[in-house]
């Protein structure tokens, strides 16, 4: 086995799980998420040698995966329609009480209802120990934009949780 093969195996071992979680947060489809992760590593195999700073491998992989995801989405809708008015977030006065265990499927349903442009920053915000600067680098957007997108995305997510909680409360027997 060549040295390059060993390096590649180590890279896959170290990063495939966090990359998959990020991909699933974006796609919410296990098969599509797996494909994205595989494509990301194949791109690394072809172009990774162009990276001059070995400390930036992880960031490079996340950026590449995100670019691939955006590319696929654009190919599905070449001229996407963009909403003209921004979605306003109505923050609940009191954040909903966290459940003892928040199942990923519930979280994925709520995340799907968050404005698509906020989903990637929110996922990176929760998934990895990245700073705002690092998230901005991965998503290739300015720092201020990242902070604003995280804030608004988390706000929308909380709104979804609050709705879920209200709906669960109303469907409980004995309540009006």
């Amino acid at each position: 086995m060549r040295r390059g093969d060993l390096d590649f195996e180590r890279l896959v071992e170290e990063h495939h799980a966090p990359l998959y979680r990020f991909a699933l947060s974006l796609t919410r489809d296990e098969s599509e998420a797996s494909d994205l992760v595989q494509e990301t590593f194949y791109i690394w195999a072809a172009k990774g040698h162009q990276l001059t700073n070995p400390a930036r491998v992880k960031t490079w992989l996340f950026t590449t995966l995100h670019r691939e995801f955006l590319g696929k989405r654009r190919r599905l809708a070449r001229f996407p329609h963009h909403e003209l008015t921004e979605v306003e977030t109505e923050l609940p006065d009191v954040p909903p009480a966290p459940p003892e265990r928040l199942d990923w499927t519930v979280l994925a349903d709520c995340l799907a209802k968050v404005d698509p442009v906020f989903q990637a920053p929110v996922a990176l915000f929760y998934l990895e120990d990245y700073s705002y600067d690092e998230i901005a680098t991965i998503l290739e957007v300015p720092l201020g934009t990242v902070k604003s997108r995280i804030s608004r995305g988390v706000g929308q997510l909380q709104e979804m949780f609050a709705r879920e909680a209200r709906s669960a409360e109303q469907s409980r027997p004995g309540t009006l």
Binding site: F8, Y20, R21, H49, P95, P98, F161
Partner: protein
């Protein structure tokens, strides 16, 4: 800073994370220490943040994913340059110098306007984003101005009547290019590219030049030191209507 502003900032705060070094976050946390209602909101919010983070981090990963990646198409993993033997690095430097020499001595582009048009059309056909999505021209000019891209563009009268969709900034030979998207109402999105004329070497005959580039029709013209390229999928006749008196 009031309580609502503090809440907005703290939405993007993770308990126990270095975000606290951010001055805005620090100020919002300080306010929470003196505002009982905000403090109560923050406690609840922090609990929720931890629960959400835990759920994200516990997403199950398919057990066979690693194997599938390694068993995929035969990968020729290149050795990173920092691990290559010195003589290979030296060869790379020589090749780079030769490449640069060829670039410096290259003949001038015959028609850089055609290349510019092709590059811009290729960008929107392949992939594009709108950093700013708005129908407000003032916001678009302000955004382009902040990004040091041409913001003083002048639109033909009929184009001025179309709803705006948003804008982004592209790059062309080191120059910023403004991309403004308009809704042609029934004919898809129109893309207007504006760049300094100094960066486009080719000469353009007077008036507006219509050219088919890949799947899009383009109209190009010069005005006030700016080169404009308008691209759309509605065909030449559709594009010409925006320039007829």
């Amino acid at each position: 800073m009031n309580s609502t502003q503090a809440k907005t900032i703290l939405l993007a705060w993770r308990p126990g994370h270095g975000d606290v070094r951010d001055p805005e976050v620090a100020a919002a946390l300080d306010l929470a220490r003196h505002d009982p209602a905000l403090k109560s909101w923050l406690d609840r919010h922090s609990d929720l943040q931890r629960a959400v983070a835990r759920s994200f981090q516990e997403i199950p990963v398919p057990g066979d994913l690693r194997g599938r990646i390694l068993a995929g198409p035969r990968i020729i993993a290149p050795i990173p340059w920092w691990r290559k033997p010195g003589w290979l690095s030296a060869a790379a430097v020589v090749a780079l110098l030769l490449g640069l020499a060829a670039w410096w001595t290259r003949p001038p582009a015959e028609d850089s306007l055609a290349v510019f048009r092709s590059r811009m059309v290729g960008t929107v056909l392949r992939q594009y984003t709108m950093e700013l999505t708005t129908n407000d021209l003032v916001q678009i000019r302000s955004y382009l101005n902040r990004r040091q891209a041409p913001a003083d563009f002048v639109l033909p009268e009929k184009l001025q009547r179309l709803p705006l969709l948003g804008a982004d900034v592209l790059s062309w030979r080191g120059e910023r290019v403004s991309m403004v998207c308009l809704d042609s109402v029934g004919q898809g999105t129109l893309f207007l590219f504006v760049v300094s004329s100094a960066s486009v070497d080719g000469t353009m005959p007077g008036g507006t030049q219509f050219t088919q580039v890949n799947k899009l029709t383009t109209a190009s013209w010069n005005e006030g030191g700016r080169t404009y390229v308008l691209a759309g999928s509605g065909g030449r006749e559709s594009l010409q209507t925006y320039f007829s008196p």
